[in-house]
Symmetry: C2
Subunit: 328 residues, 2 copies
């Protein structure tokens, strides 16, 4: 008998533990072309909050009463699919559960890059690739640029900081609290802003007296407004997430957006999914940075399937430093 989390209630604002239920489920028989996987690592990510709403987006909403899903790394227990054998480590999308029987075509065997398996949910997974393509392709950040990144202690943000430093940029990261700011500095950031300690617009002005060329936005809200206020000529903003608004019905307010005109700022929304065809390039370059130690992995780990909702909710209360994972 497998166990999987299901959404039993669509949250209005910040989700609560009672919105989730852990349920037993019978595994289907192992047909041809399928594998039986035992999950080892489960991913929780801020974008999952959007899937808890009923409204359609770029990814379908979670269905009430059905098993939830998301990124996961597991080990094959039994295979009836060519190219997969018991003991293989794979990444796939049947997270939020302990075991699954899945068509092999949805699985990726982990390439041998000399890293930990869970890195394929972090710096070598969706967060790392999001950081890579958002910074270098969407925002066209280049050596010498002054880069501001919000949620810099998070999974995506901590990758942005390290990639930007490895590429010769000046980096200012924001995070909540002294401990996280220390962490952001330890990643190599030139400055860290504690957004809890005062208005971001002021702190960013002090940390970047000459303004910013690039803003990598994970937050929206007052961070984005501060970036408008400090944008230099031809600044580029990559919009990755707006966690400040995920649990809120309040509209975001902007006083400085009009500077986009005078400074000819370009702001672009993007999704990881647009870059799947370029993952080979990413594995090669990011794998190299990890092998050389220029990019390091940082994780916050919850233990046991039971902790999955707590790990998820922790994303919104600042419980994680680096990538938030659940270990089974």
């Amino acid at each position: 008998m497998a166990r999987a989390w299901t959404l039993v209630n669509r949250p209005e604002a910040l989700p609560e533990s009672s919105d989730f239920a852990l349920r037993d489920s019978e595994l289907p028989p192992l047909g041809d072309g399928m594998v039986h996987v035992r999950n080892r690592w489960l991913s929780v990510d801020p974008y999952m909050r959007g899937r808890m709403n009923e409204s359609k987006s770029y990814i379908p909403p979670f269905q009430l009463g059905e098993p939830m899903d998301g990124g996961a790394v597991g080990e094959i227990v039994e295979s009836k699919a060519d190219g997969f054998a018991a003991g293989d480590l794979v990444s796939h999308f049947a997270g939020w559960r302990d075991e699954a029987v899945l068509p092999a075509k949805g699985l990726t065997k982990l390439p041998d890059l000399g890293v930990q398996p869970q890195d394929f949910l972090g710096n070598l997974g969706v967060p790392g690739a999001t950081a890579w393509f958002g910074l270098l392709d969407v925002a066209k950040a280049k050596e010498g640029d002054i880069v501001f990144v919000s949620a810099a202690a998070g999974a995506v943000g901590s990758a942005v900081v390290q990639i930007a430093k490895a590429k010769g940029m000046t980096v200012i990261g924001s995070a909540g609290g002294k401990e996280k700011c220390d962490f952001v500095r330890s990643l190599g950031a030139d400055a860290a802003i504690d957004y809890r300690s005062g208005p971001i617009i002021k702190s960013l002005g002090e940390a970047a007296p000459d303004g910013i060329d690039v803003y990598f936005d994970n937050v929206g809200g007052d961070h984005l407004d501060a970036a408008f206020a400090r944008a230099r000529l031809h600044a580029r903003f990559a919009l990755c997430g707006m966690i400040a608004g995920y649990n809120s019905r309040e509209p975001a307010q902007f006083r400085y957006m009009i500077r986009m005109i005078a400074m000819r700022v370009t702001m672009t929304g993007f999704l990881y999914g647009d870059y799947v065809s370029r993952l080979g390039e990413f594995y090669s370059e990011m794998g190299g940075l990890m092998a050389s130690g220029k990019v390091k992995s940082h994780e916050t780990v919850f233990e046991g399937l039971e902790t999955m909702p707590d790990a998820f909710l922790g994303l919104f209360t600042g419980a994680n430093t680096g990538k938030m994972l659940v270990k089974l």
Copy 2:
């Protein structure tokens, strides 16, 4: 003795007539390389509001007590500069006054495109070039696109509507009141939205049930939020102006900006000044559209230098249809 308008008080919100004063001024002697110009047409434009604030922007603020300036078309009365002779029509930046003695290097002789002189302040001037490059270069609008343009009855907006239709796009324009909406339809727009008659987000949804590919923003505020709400995949927004906020200290509020991520929207601020090197291309193509009758000129004309502040203030109360001009 010449007469020129001067700013005597920096307005906090909507300017008032008492913020302006018409003053006599002695013309300087006509030195070598200079011309004496008698203005015939003066331009008033929304961007001038920004110059009434003290803060620095892409163009310096008006100085209290000094003559104001802006776009103008005049006739040369006397010339001590090579290439300019009495009777020549020129465009220049010494507006807000009746006469001026100017260095010839700041003047442009009007090219012979078979149009009215005042068109060089409208469809063949800054508003027309702003529409042209904003639509085609910044927003990369192309045949078949669904284009939304705000302030579509204004100088820039009316040019956007006509250029877009000439290029085979579907066009939805917004304007204030039935009369202006009729005017926008008369320009060829497929639909006109009266923003005074109800929430724009609702009207835009009805006018563009399949969403929009391009938004040409002259307004900001709720128009921009409606465009976020209705953006299709890979939509492009060109930010030209945000007149809704020029006289307000209230922050703009956005509920739908987060759709930029799911829809991979790109939003870019731009200025006419970035395209000065490409004006030849513009004169040639826009001149052709005007000669063929595909783009027509529409003006609201105030008469006499005394009316200049009223004409300017009329920009913010919806007094103009097409380009707002003062005729001397």
